[in-house]
Symmetry: C2
Subunit: 309 residues, 2 copies
């Protein structure tokens, strides 16, 4: 049995970290030899989750090939969101809930994606299909991942399967998921003590659209006014990131986890701004636009942009 | 509920046709509105299967968009193997057992691929997971697809899951799969009354390798000498197909279904022949090479070629 590493995307969120841990446990129960690792340190929310359920953060790796020939991906598939040397290893398994893009293999693989609220909801189904019991602490991580990705079941990505999974996992984890979930989301929404540069990079993903690199970051907050007051600093940091990394555009979605509304700030190539405005059917005013009810990058931000590019 | 079409790849084989029918039945039982269609007429083997289990061949479509906005793919994902206007419709579901390449979506989807012997083995698992009973005639089609893709469980792509599935499906279909399977494979291996051009196109797939289009066809036979005697005619047809369609290379794998050996004939850009020879660790002699034990395009032909290109 050759050892494989399992990891989520760069700038890992709770679904990425919890998914690596829960998938690794499942695979090892099924007889594989896997280790959950991560492509970055846990963010505040994820650290709160790990502490709450007495788990240690997965070891951070920079490259995969020096350690293994084969890897499993959770919560992503696009090469630019994965480990830097992804081209040098064979992807044997993917469990995801995103679109598929910039992903190619030479041979057959196990690929399981479903349009559900979180990768951990897919993993919850897989545990059930395989008849493997979910330990209480892992159930807590998986429940947290669903809360995180669906903003406590408020995102339009939320499905009945997510609701069923969270009820089951909450019971296994001995938690009231609603009370716990609010505390958890607030733990990840504290922006006061972080720099603009840190905030725009914490949960940022790159997408190839029309041959250009588009960077889309999301920041969860509980006080929108506090965030908007820092707009100029965000813009400066985004502009700098575009220059340093060659992004054509940098979009920052600031999402209020309490009322599920988003304010979006855009920096980068000004000639592309009309495409952004067309995607969301409104004009940028003072460099930002209000997107009521928008909480999902995957479902509400990427597809309309993709259509324009 | 918006109607969706379900289809397998161009030049459909038994797994593609049976997969469309069996997936459509499953989806409709789950409350979807789907129709199984095909991107071509059934080949001899598939027609034998359809006749044997009293099923009619799925309607052949040229384009999807005039009829529907959304489609489900079985047994393939690469755009060049799919319906000609695949870019104009949304792929909502894929059930497959091949590598992933040249496939991209704007939004999340259901994607289920497993490295099993046939797409119908994946579908068999899905029926079980959903608790949907497989009707006898559909079980017969699914069993036939596994026999076809694994050459009666002889291909190296065969897994324990395929063996488990075929036993279960044979019971549901009231068939001795071994006796039936040999008859079925022979029904598809009659090449005497077909032109070289028809034979090289019947089960041919295009692959993008190193930016070039590589065409790989497979023909099942029960008499290798009879096939090799027609080598010059095959080469002429392959050469013409390269010129007409811009393929850099055309490989024809002639597979004896009785002893699981393959003879490969290669036409096209002569400067690329060393890559083919390197892929299979032997020289072409008289324009062909013998590949003992090679029966799987997906597992034994595409990956070594991909590595060279």
């Amino acid at each position: 049995m050759t050892k494989e590493l399992i990891f989520g995307h760069q700038n890992p969120d709770t679904d990425a970290i919890a998914g690596a841990i829960s998938y690794s446990y499942l695979q090892n129960q099924l007889g594989m030899d896997t280790e959950a690792v991560a492509l970055g340190q846990p963010n505040d929310e994820t650290q709160f989750v790990l502490d709450h359920f007495h788990q240690t953060a997965p070891r951070v790796i920079e490259k995969a090939k020096p350690e293994v020939d084969q890897v499993m991906l959770v919560d992503h598939n696009e090469a630019q969101q994965s480990v830097s040397d992804i081209k040098d290893v064979t992807v044997t398994h993917v469990v995801d809930h995103h679109r598929i893009a910039n992903f190619e293999t030479a041979g057959p693989l196990y690929y399981r994606a479903e349009p559900l609220g979180s990768s951990n909801t897919v993993l919850w189904k897989m545990y059930h299909e395989e008849g493997i019991e979910i330990p209480s602490q892992i159930a807590g991580l998986m429940m947290s991942a669903i809360i995180s990705d669906t903003l406590l079941l408020n995102s339009p990505t939320t499905t009945d399967t997510d609701r069923e999974a969270i009820e089951d996992l909450a019971q296994l984890a001995h938690e009231d998921y609603h009370t716990y979930g609010l505390t958890m989301l607030k733990a990840g929404a504290n922006i006061a003590d972080k720099s603009a540069a840190a905030l725009i990079n914490a949960d940022a993903k790159s997408f190839e659209m029309g041959g250009q690199q588009i960077r889309i970051a999301q920041v969860n907050v509980v006080d929108m006014d506090e965030a908007v007051a820092r707009q100029k600093k965000f813009e400066a940091a985004m502009q700098q990131s575009c220059q340093e990394n060659g992004y054509a555009l940098f979009l920052l979605a600031i999402t209020n986890v309490l009322d599920s509304n988003t304010t979006m700030i855009v920096s980068g190539d000004q000639s592309l701004l009309p495409k952004v405005e067309a995607a969301f059917h409104q004009k940028l005013e003072a460099g930002r636009m209000s997107l009521p009810g928008v909480v999902s990058r995957k479902k509400q931000i990427v597809p309309p942009l993709q259509q324009q590019f």
